[in-house]
Amino acid sequence: MHKQIKAIAAILMLIVSFSFSMTVHAESDKDSSLPEPIIWENSETGYFVLLQDDAQLLTSEEETQLAKEMRNITAYGNAVLKTISYNSYSASSYAEDFYYDIFGQSSGTLFLIDMDNRELYLFSSEDISYTITSSYSNTITDNVYRYASKEDYYTCASKAFEQIQTLLTGRRIAQPMKYICNALLALILAALINYFVAMRTASSAKASSREILNAISSQFAFTNPQKKLTKQNKSVRATSSSVGHSSGGFSGGHSSGGGGHSSGGGHRF
């Protein structure tokens, strides 16, 4: 009973913070008739599934199905799918702000479909971000962007969360982008490095002047060194007070975001 009260309280809190977040973002979204979000809590871990299709890219069946698929991720952190049709910021800023506004420094991952910037962005925070690193975020969004380009947003999001789940359970995902890029770069770098190696191994250094002088017999003497003062110039030294010198304390404009760990990566579509 006590557990149930706790869960209801958590959901209420989430709805309150979500509503607050919506009022912040509603202005930018320019759309007051936003669909209801799907919220589900994993009672064992306390993590949530949050799915809000503001850009109305998914059917309600697809939303329900996706929310089910996202539940597995709540074993590790919150799982969020957000679609937007208007965004005056970058996709990465929006994703980060949105997640922190709702969940704060809590483990979780957010998949954003930004129709305004035509960009997919995967943001992860805290524990999950150690597994879903920025590199993996880039890889996952690269793996699924083609579905978004074909306007198959359900498959796009479904595949993205599937790959997140795969990584969180310690398995591997395909990384064609990484391997293609690295293979091409490796070939170019190898060709250049090999050229310098060939040059280095083929060349012989010329003898230096020192080596030449060491190989000959030579003698050197400089005797009777004399120095005679002929002139002296004297001038008043400029003191430190006369020099335009300003000192000021360091005022670093450093702000800390709480020291949390996060990662992110995206792809246009």
């Binding site: 890029c181 170019i188 000959i216 004297k234």
Partner: protein
């Protein structure tokens, strides 16, 4: 030929014993005790057989009259024309200290590091082609004796004042640099000569022609004035830096003229009459088409220098093999996005273009032997050599330029799909590879030389 007093066989200089040794009865003789009749005459000249290559005109000397069948300069296998002549007698010689076997080992060890060298250069048959040649050198002795005057100054602070004291400095210099040596043969490139330098001239001995028995010698055809300024400069620079570090003047900052002529006057630099000397070099040539590569080993110290071309097939195979660990390392460290990869590829293409341009400059200089003053001093004063690139050197930069242009276009279009960036990177790779292969061709030009044409009797440009 020097006859053995015991059996009449041919006495040749034996490196191990540093004496003349009979091939047949193994008798050893002191080189100074064995002379031909004409050698014994007080003369500035000695008798030699001059072998002239009918193809390149290169001349090589021997105290032996048996036919020479290989030209060291152009690599031609042909019977060399011979004639008896008199050569100016050098004052000193450094006899060979490194045996041919030692020389071969040194060369093999050098070639082991040259992993992209053509296999022919490592072929035992080819390596057996090392030939002992005495290269003529000019030996300059520079002396500097007399009073030296300089200006000096010292700056310091005392109380609220800055002081600068000015001094007249003087002293007596007494310096001497013996046997600064420069090769006196136009057929032996300055570059190779500088690479196998220095010879330990403290081991020079008085010349006698019997030292040449069993070896060849190159002709001295470069005037002694050609390298005189180089010798003066080395002496002046050394003396100048040693005066500047004199303890009595250590608290001063002072200057001594930097110009060569002013330094000659300030330091009383004097060059004695240059002496003719002969230094030992193991020499081998490798001819491929219309190019020739040389390998040389200092016959005294064993320092090796060689023209080492790059085998394009080995290079490509090596690059593919090297790409594998680089690929694994990149996978371990980075996940690049396609647009970044394209940008980096374009940057590397631009680097390749710069390398290409730098190489072309070097090729022109070396191909025209513009850096070989010994060679240039012997050329007729005709029109300046063409600066046009050798045919193999032209056009190679198009690959890298195309790669950069393709990348720039893709970035301007800014497509969404990855394959555009992959295609751009592949174009960049092909472009870079095309340019690098062109650079290798250029490098091979740089690592080999045009067949020499010595403007001597017997040279045939059409050969």
């Amino acid at each position: 030929m020097y006859e053995c007093p015991n059996c009449g066989g041919n006495l040749k200089f034996d490196i191990a014993s540093q004496q003349l040794k009979c091939d047949y009865c193994l008798t050893l003789k002191d080189p100074y005790e064995v002379t031909k009749d004409k050698d014994a005459e007080e003369s500035n000249a000695f008798d030699v057989t001059v072998f002239t290559c009918p193809q390149c005109g290169g001349e090589i000397l021997s105290t032996d009259t048996s036919a020479a069948e290989f030209c060291s300069f152009c690599g031609a296998s042909t019977i060399l024309d011979s004639r008896i002549s008199k050569e100016k007698r050098p004052a000193y010689i450094i006899p060979f200290k490194q045996t041919k076997d030692a020389c071969k080992e040194i060369y093999i060890s050098k070639m082991k590091r040259a992993i992209f060298a053509p296999d022919e250069l490592k072929d035992k048959k080819y390596i057996d082609g090392f030939r002992g040649i005495y290269i003529p050198y000019w030996s300059y002795t520079i002396s500097q004796r007399g009073p030296v005057h300089m200006k000096g100054q010292k700056s310091y602070a005392k109380g609220n004042y800055d002081y600068t004291d000015y001094y007249d400095l003087s002293g007596e210099v007494n310096a001497c640099y013996n046997d600064l040596s420069y090769d006196a043969s136009s057929s032996f490139s300055d570059e190779l000569s500088e690479q196998i330098a220095p010879f330990d001239v403290k081991q020079t001995v008085q010349f006698t022609p019997s030292f040449l028995s069993g070896f060849y010698a190159d002709t001295a055809d470069v005037d002694s004035s050609v390298y005189k300024e180089d010798a003066l400069r080395i002496a002046n620079d050394s003396t100048r830096s040693r005066i500047l570090s004199t303890p009595a003047f250590s608290d001063l900052s002072f200057s001594l003229s930097n110009s060569d002529s002013d330094l000659n006057t300030a330091l009383h630099t004097h060059c004695d009459t240059p002496e003719r000397t002969m230094y030992p070099v193991w020499f081998m040539s490798y001819r491929k088409g219309d190019r020739v590569a040389y390998a040389t080993v200092n016959g005294q110290t064993g320092k090796a220098a060689a023209d080492i071309p790059i085998d394009a097939k080995k290079y490509i195979l090596g690059s593919l093999l090297l790409a594998l660990p680089i690929f694994l390392l990149l996978n371990f460290l980075f996940t690049f996005k396609p647009n970044f990869t394209l940008g980096l590829s374009a940057f590397l293409a631009a680097v390749t273009f710069i390398i290409h341009m730098t190489e072309v400059k070097k090729i022109n200089t070396r191909d025209q032997r513009m850096d070989d003053r010994g060679y240039l001093s012997n050329q007729p004063k005709t029109a300046p050599p063409s600066k046009r690139e050798p045919s193999a050197a032209r056009g190679g930069f198009f690959g890298s330029i195309l790669a950069v242009i393709a990348a720039a276009l893709i970035f301007i279009i800014n497509p969404v799909a990855d394959y555009w960036y992959y295609a751009g990177t592949i174009i960049a790779f092909i472009g870079v590879l095309f340019t690098i292969i062109a650079i290798i061709k250029k490098y091979n030009i740089l690592a080999t030389r045009k067949l020499p044409q010595f403007e001597r009797k017997g040279g045939d440009d059409r050969a």
